[in-house]
């Protein structure tokens, strides 16, 4: 069984960061997030850590970064070995986190037609992980940020964006099917379904960035409108008949539309 990272791991992990010169002075908070915190980790899972400081930047020697549409426009990243795991340490400034939370505020959601499009994959991933993070040090800062996230329009933003993409792919799938390109239509319908599932999960407070954890999140959210067993039949294409691909495609698109009706945006 894999170890689940909790606040009790704080001293050990902070020590490992400090030993490698990866813990800046005067940080506000260090938190762990990702699969190892949720109890979904495996032998090869990275240990995702976030260091939040008042000043942007990272300790000397950390040169890699993720680009973000914030100010400053980069988040330094280190990938040290932490005990028996590969670490993935991101260095955010408190102001960058504030800017990101502002992007998913209700004000932004109501004022922009597609506010979800302004949140990049890196930014979305950071918010997803913030939601289930545990503080290793600086718990009050994390608790405040998580409160802000819970009261934000992040879920609505993700749901709306996912539904838009689901619709786009659903229409493409129908177009491909109509023109006789059933193979493309199958793949496109599956994409549409994935986005619809993401919208449904967001509606239930489980935000995804990739399909990697979708089944876990689906079980955790347990949406009644599309129970797990039905969801999984489509995800694994169990009813797909190569002799009649159109039936499966239309069934999936119908499911995408029903999900659209149940997700509040």
């Amino acid at each position: 069984m894999n170890h689940v990272i909790t606040a009790e791991d704080g001293p050990r992990l902070l020590g490992l960061l400090r030993e490698q010169g990866l813990l800046p002075d005067g940080y506000r908070c260090v938190y762990a997030a990702g699969s190892l915190v949720r109890g979904w980790g495996n032998e090869t899972s990275d240990l995702d850590l976030y260091v939040v400081s008042d000043a942007p930047g990272a300790p000397h020697g950390v040169e890699d970064f993720h680009p973000v549409a914030l100010t400053p426009d980069r988040v330094p990243v280190a990938v040290p070995t932490l005990g028996d795991r590969r670490g993935d340490v991101e260095y955010w400034s408190a102001d960058q986190v504030g800017q990101l939370l502002a992007k998913v505020s209700w004000e932004a959601y109501r004022s922009e037609r597609d506010s979800g499009a302004t949140v990049s994959q890196v930014e979305r991933d950071a918010l997803v992980k913030l939601g289930h993070a545990v503080a290793l040090d600086g718990a009050p800062w994390l608790a405040q940020a998580q409160r802000q996230l819970r009261s934000s329009a992040f879920g609505r933003t993700i749901a709306a964006r996912s539904l838009d993409l689901a619709d786009t792919f659903a229409e493409d799938a129908l177009g491909q099917l109509g023109s006789g390109d059933a193979e493309s239509a199958v793949l496109t319908a599956k994409l549409a379904f994935g986005y619809a599932a993401d919208a449904l999960l967001a509606h239930h407070g489980e935000y995804g960035t990739t399909a990697k954890w979708r089944s876990k999140k689906y079980r955790a959210a347990a949406p009644a409108v599309l129970p797990f067993e039905r969801y999984w039949r489509i995800e694994t294409m169990r009813d797909y008949d190569p002799g009649d691909p159109g039936r499966w495609i239309e069934d999936v698109i119908g499911c995408v539309r029903r999900v659209s009706m149940e997700v509040e945006v």
Binding site: L163, G254, S260, M261, V263, E264, V265
Partner: protein, 93 residues
């Protein structure tokens, strides 16, 4: 596609229709046409599933709104006829 709605018709939602739910309101869009469904229309739309017949849907309408079966059937058929005319639902027998 059936020419008109009757009590044994089985309506199904047109897969080309985009659907959104916002503030308890159902919004539909097909190509460049957008529709905000009134409450009763939304109630009926939600029950259009490609399995239930018009008479099944009208029974739910009667029960939900406390109206007699004949009135419910007439209202349901009228609403579905409008939805069909806009190509938001398709009919089968």
């Amino acid at each position: 596609m059936a020419a008109e709605v009757h009590d044994h018709s089985v309506p199904r939602q047109n897969l080309e229709v985009r659907i959104r739910s916002t503030g308890g309101t159902i919004l539909l869009a097909r190509y460049d046409q957008a529709y905000e469904l009134p409450e009763v229309a939304a109630f009926i739309w939600r029950r259009v599933n490609g399995c239930d017949r018009v008479e099944d849907i009208s029974r739910a309408v009667a029960e939900h709104y406390g109206i007699d079966a004949g009135t419910a059937l007439a209202d349901t058929a009228e609403m579905l006829e409008w939805l069909r005319g806009e190509e938001l639902v398709l009919l089968g027998d």
